[in-house]
Amino acid sequence: MHVPDGFIGPRTWLPAAALAGVSTWFALRRIRQTMQAEAIPTLGVITACSFGLMLIAVPLPFGGATVHATGVGLLALRFGVTTAYLAIGLVLALQAFLLGDGGVTSLPVSALCLGLGGPLTAVVTHGLLRRVNERLARFVAGWSATVVAALLTALVLGLQPLVAVDAAGEPLFFPFGWRTVVPALVLPHAVVGVLEGLITVMGLDRWRQEER
């Protein structure tokens, strides 16, 4: 989900940048009001782990693609949606500016899809399933956060041939439609989502043990 520059047109990334800016301002206000000082070192450690996880590519046995875990489920369930959004946004920004993984113009879209869509999905899924089984709920939360973030990214990419074309009708930016990009992006992330679910379960188990 590290979308390079030149894949997403300004009709998409400009509104996304405005929305991401407002979301970031709101999240910063909220974190200043609610974040307890004792929890911040743990936030730093998990965010650093998220940065590391996104650098470790998992090769898939089909199509030559590689995918990576993100730690988004763990961040969302441990700290909530707004804090997870800021943490993932920071990680994506560092990767774009320091490593060139993902573009600067596509950063707002990536932050909204992965940093906001992923944590929201994790929290909602966990809330729905926790009465059935707590650990199952954590696993599904991690898995679904990854898959939904990939689906949102695929929907944005697949939108480009519809909203950004030249006079001849040729795509100016990402050329593949939803029929191609949705399965190409979502299916690999459904596989790596299993790893994300396990990371969410084990991470929360670990920190719950330390809290006792």
């Binding site: 030149g6 894949f7 307890q36 070192p41 590391g52 470790i56 590519a57 693609a65 320091l98 190409a184």
Partner: protein, 138 residues
């Protein structure tokens, strides 16, 4: 302690792997420019659609697929900033700026070691949260 060891293990593993997910490229100038594109672990972006745009009118100059080694070539017919876009269906690829001067010599480009960027990234994350913790506790 175990937590710190886990973080250390992640950092070491990250360092060893040095990322396969990012996309890197090399430009070989000449009468015909050759661009080689690969994931950061060296796996080439083979059989991947690419498009080259001219600086003169912004129109498409060359289209095609990269070869098995992730290479593509185009022959610029004007100086300026040429754009090479490479797309994979899963949203990866590259937006490459290729400066072409009048005598087809490529200016030296800035290269930041990836390992240095990874270390700086870890440092910035821990530094930002440490500064925030200090601010909250005071």
């Amino acid at each position: 302690m175990r937590c710190k060891l886990t973080v250390l293990a992640v950092m070491v593993f990250t360092w060893a792997d040095s990322s396969a997910h990012g996309v890197i490229h090399e430009i070989e100038p000449g009468k015909t420019y050759h661009v080689t594109i690969s994931y950061a672990n060296g796996t080439p972006l083979a059989s991947t659609a690419f498009e080259v745009r001219s600086p003169v009118d912004g129109l498409v100059h060359t289209v095609g697929l990269t070869d098995d080694l992730g290479r593509l070539g185009f022959t610029p017919d004007a100086p300026g900033t040429w754009i090479v876009d490479v797309w994979t269906p899963d949203g990866h690829g590259a937006h490459i700026v290729v400066p072409v001067d009048t005598d087809s010599r490529l200016p030296a480009s800035r290269t930041v070691p990836r390992s240095g960027g990874i270390l700086i990234g870890f440092g910035l994350i821990l530094g930002v949260t440490a500064a925030f913790a200090r601010h909250r506790s005071s």
